[in-house]
Symmetry: D2
Subunit: 353 residues, 4 copies
């Protein structure tokens, strides 16, 4: 089901080529004034068609709010916003109904929903569904900022090219969200090269929640790791997530990986942050840090082997249409959105009791 | 909350030193005969005190079923089973109330629950709570086997020592669950060495669901990755999860990472399995493969820096008590349990509609 | 929260005067062709402005489907449909912000959401929100009919005038949904008289699910009574619900109220149906019967006592605007919608295991 | 499923003759000291075998707390308590497996769970499962009292004999919980007479939450009526529920049923309370009042018609075993328990945002 949240309830709907995509968000306190310009800027970071490394499909991604607001102020009712799908070319996809694209959900969608599945543009599996995620996330980002909580994110690597500079400030203003712009330039070149070869690249994104409230999350299945992972894997192409030192922690010794406590300005803090700000599923006040692995865009123009499902014979496929050679840059604000939603939901939940 | 599942509902309760720990599992079809001996063998793989690299605390881990069965056959009512906590030494922990152990949930538990938190043995954050997870998981393993679905798992690495041999058969019978026993011997030595230095090691575990039904899981927030991640992060010490090629996929090109479709015995299959058997959140019939990063046991006997919360002054701490120098071997069946629960829940859900 | 359902997930959004109201419905199997004309007819039974006893506010109540369909066939993605609010006159309500209408949610909305609550037209508490309920219900009615399950309903009483004739056939085609049209005529006169006195009337509605599948519902908190009650109380103005003999059963003896089993055409049936088709929360195959108490429309044009919340002084209020002198007739299809959603959700859930 | 609650999570498990019955309650704040003596007194009001109008089966109903407490103080972990089933006589029931008792869940349980259903003592459908409900409810009652919220209840009618005296004070200390003891004496005689005729009686119970917080509950499907109804119908034998004036409101005019607002000691109050303290699903600060219809105990010793399911032939049945001729008195604290759980859950939820 397309739901997320305990105290906050997010529902996402739409397909790539349906009349609209959108989201309903419940649980936002009444009386909050959404800064619509800021929200639009946030959505713009995800929007397609902005530069050479993203799909030429241009969508304004202008949300229309149908409910939940009086003016731009929340009134306590569920907030629903939609984005119309205007620039669709469904004929690009009809030929693919029987020849599933490798790396895409075409085959599993057909298995699950039968012939009635919506093949156009990837249907409900399209990366386009991250736009409503970013509407919800953009609202939560504003609510968090009001509490002094900020979320930073950046590209860590693309195609194996790594930006090892520490994340200390926002990259949101940058066209290409890396810390080290020289490395970013190399990444861009790598993307351009992959594109010229009708190929695509993946990468790793890092996200950091600064100044999170203490005590967020619950033991066992509702820890902050579980909560963040369970929304982040809703973003297409994510194949892995790690918190703090993550997979590297598996090679450490306990004496190295344990984050020693100390006092900083009278507050308990930790010397290192290998746990990524989460102990026993609960935030310890240090920055919450996670990284996600993004696979290369599966839509590539190279010829690929597949199966014709109507005749059950092998065949080949060359994908047309408009596709990003690397979705990593556009996925960066999606990670912030996911983190903001998970955080704000946990904050609401923490207020009870 | 300590809940998991959509069609299946798992509730876990208990603290390390409460009278008992246990679980309630709802949604299991009526009329299934649980093989109690097999279940006990499954639990035994997780149980402590079996060898030199696990805690000397000995617990029989014998579940008592309080409800849901008539004899050993499910009757449709919620299944509740408990394990009594008999071998507890709470005095080991009282001195730690004010001096949180680095890497443990002591500090965050205190922040969240105040002075009333149960400090004894880690309270509800204890790894001991994976015993009821394994009761539920052991039942689901039996239900899956009846459908021809099997789950294999193994240690991939400990302390940086890697077993790169492919996972082709069960390691469940082995005392040390690796594929390559010679590498396993090196891992054991590394654990023994770390223990002799009052230190601990972490590692990576791989889990593989063989012959999963097609079409399990749902788009967005209820995909198989989300479902598995959200239960796996309920196992203490897990700091990362990746599916299929995982973080390595981020360095591939699309033409390499895409799993080409072909026909095998008249069935659609993929040549490679970089997606780990999951496309668009939905199982494609190939083995579902994931790996998890386990941090080193945080309880080490070395002196560590911490803070005295009663006086808010820096202090040091040397942990006594009984602890595993490496919990990775005992966490292996926990991963199988988690995978079995997530799979069986998705199977039940798939039967509707 | 505005959610309902276990296997089906219904989300309703909108306020009386927001740009639109609508619903998202998840869990409907892919491949079902919605008969749009039939759906429109169903919605028409609830729509305002059709005759003298309903509000003169005219709304076409034409749903626009934004997602979940390809043509008129479900594709497995969440179905979202909206109805634009076009005929709104918010100025009717602004003066009421500080003087809550007796019997309405104005006061409790203000308490809950503060000054930001949407007062116009009753905001999210408006009976208008039953329109999206009827979209979802109308789809479920079609799915049930395909399985041979039909839902009948009728007015039992209005203003104390009772229609005691048994419910044997649909009243859906009638402009005034009673069994005994002569009694219906009396009810209409009573409504007209109340209207002429600036007053309003309530009543009782009966709903009957014919030929329900055996074995729907679960013990305890997920029984059919719980499920139906928990959606029916979402319809504004419902103040009571009873199943089968309901409150009358409290005056019977066990030997009278027990429904004896017998065989009818080789099937187990019961001689009477005092239990309303539900035993232990589970459907027994007999018709599921329930009745609901609907309070008189609280918006009346008579002067009423209230409190000015801005000055905290007593005041009086005479409500203008457009209101039904009796909403019972329009609530009849809403009960069918609620029953259809509850039933279909339980049917989906019953398919598992 | 056997779950209830949004912020509070209650899970109930057990069958009449399983080793134990019990409950897990999550969400109770850490640091609350449960008054065990008071809890035991609360449970005693529901316990069987206390007098001539209840079943002679004697059960101490002494809960054993397995988790969630340190001493008698909540620690934030899920609270699990069990009651052992000791006084069971399963042979009483085996003969009934194929001849379902009219008015019981025997038939529907068999339909739902097949031959594996637990027939002994009604299995999971037994009224005995209200004991764990009362453990959870008894804890919530104490939490509410601490906030100044009290819950009163009483028998309104049994077998048509009505106690019309207003409910102004607790009847909890009375052996027979009515307001007018003379009427209560008549009820007792009626029960004794029904018993002597191998028959049983039903009745109506009233429950009143005094001094509830303002603003509890949410619009639509999570209103206080929905919340209370959905837990109350989990109590076996409840066939109807009404709030405030309930079904009587359907015969009023709007000018009569509307509760006019006025100022009482500077607070907004209503002159009448026909709405039962709930407007738009949200508490308005007036007492929350509801009444439930309880059917006569279906287990009677009179011969009844049923069907032999093994041969599919008509047969008769005379029920032995131990049964209450009227469960209404023992159901009274169950209503308080249900109300307390629903209220406290809504209170926790209201604290967020």
């Amino acid at each position: 089901m397309n739901h997320y949240g305990n105290c906050l309830k997010l529902t996402i709907f739409g397909q790539s080529h349906s009349p609209a995509i959108g989201m309903t968000l419940e649980g936002i306190p009444a009386g909050f004034a959404i800064d619509m310009e800021k929200l639009q800027q946030f959505l713009q970071r995800r929007a397609p068609g902005r530069n050479t490394y993203s799909t030429p499909r241009k969508e304004a991604d202008l949300p229309e709010f149908l409910s939940g607001l009086v003016g731009n102020v929340t009134c306590g009712a569920p907030i629903t916003a939609i984005i119309r799908n205007t620039n669709t070319r469904s004929q690009d996809y009809e030929s693919l109904r029987n020849t599933p694209r490798p790396g895409h959900a075409d085959y599993t969608a057909r298995v699950k929903y039968g012939d009635a599945f919506d093949a156009a543009g990837g249907g409900q599996f399209s990366g386009r569904l991250t736009a409503p995620l970013c509407i919800a996330g953009g609202i939560c980002v504003q609510l968090l900022e009001q509490m002094g909580v900020t979320i930073l994110s950046r590209i860590v690597s693309i195609g194996g090219i790594c930006d090892n500079a520490p994340l200390l400030a926002s990259t949101a203003e940058k066209e290409f969200p890396v810390v080290d712009d020289a490395i970013g330039e190399q990444m861009r070149l790598a993307i351009a090269e992959a594109k010229s070869q009708n190929d695509s690249l993946g990468g790793v994104i890092e996200c950091m929640v600064c100044n999170p409230p203490l005590g967020l999350g619950d033991p066992m299945f509702d820890g902050m790791e579980n909560r963040i992972a369970s929304i982040v894997f809703g973003i297409p192409a994510v194949k892995g997530i790690e918190f703090g030192a993550g997979f590297a922690v598996a090679q450490m010794r306990g004496s190295e990986s344990n984050d020693a406590f100390y006092l900083q300005d009278g507050q308990v803090a930790t010397v290192t942050n290998h746990c990524g700000g989460i102990l026993g599923g609960i935030s310890n006040g240090m920055p919450i840090v996670f990284r996600t692995a993004i696979k290369p865009t599966p839509s590539i123009s190279k010829e690929q082997n597949t199966v014709d499902l109507s005749t059950m014979t092998p065949t080949t496929l060359t994908i047309g249409g408009r596709h990003d050679p690397c979705i990593v840059p556009r996925a960066v604000p999606c990670m912030e959105a996911a983190a903001a939603i998970a955080l704000y939901d946990a904050i609401l939940e923490n207020m009870k009791g």
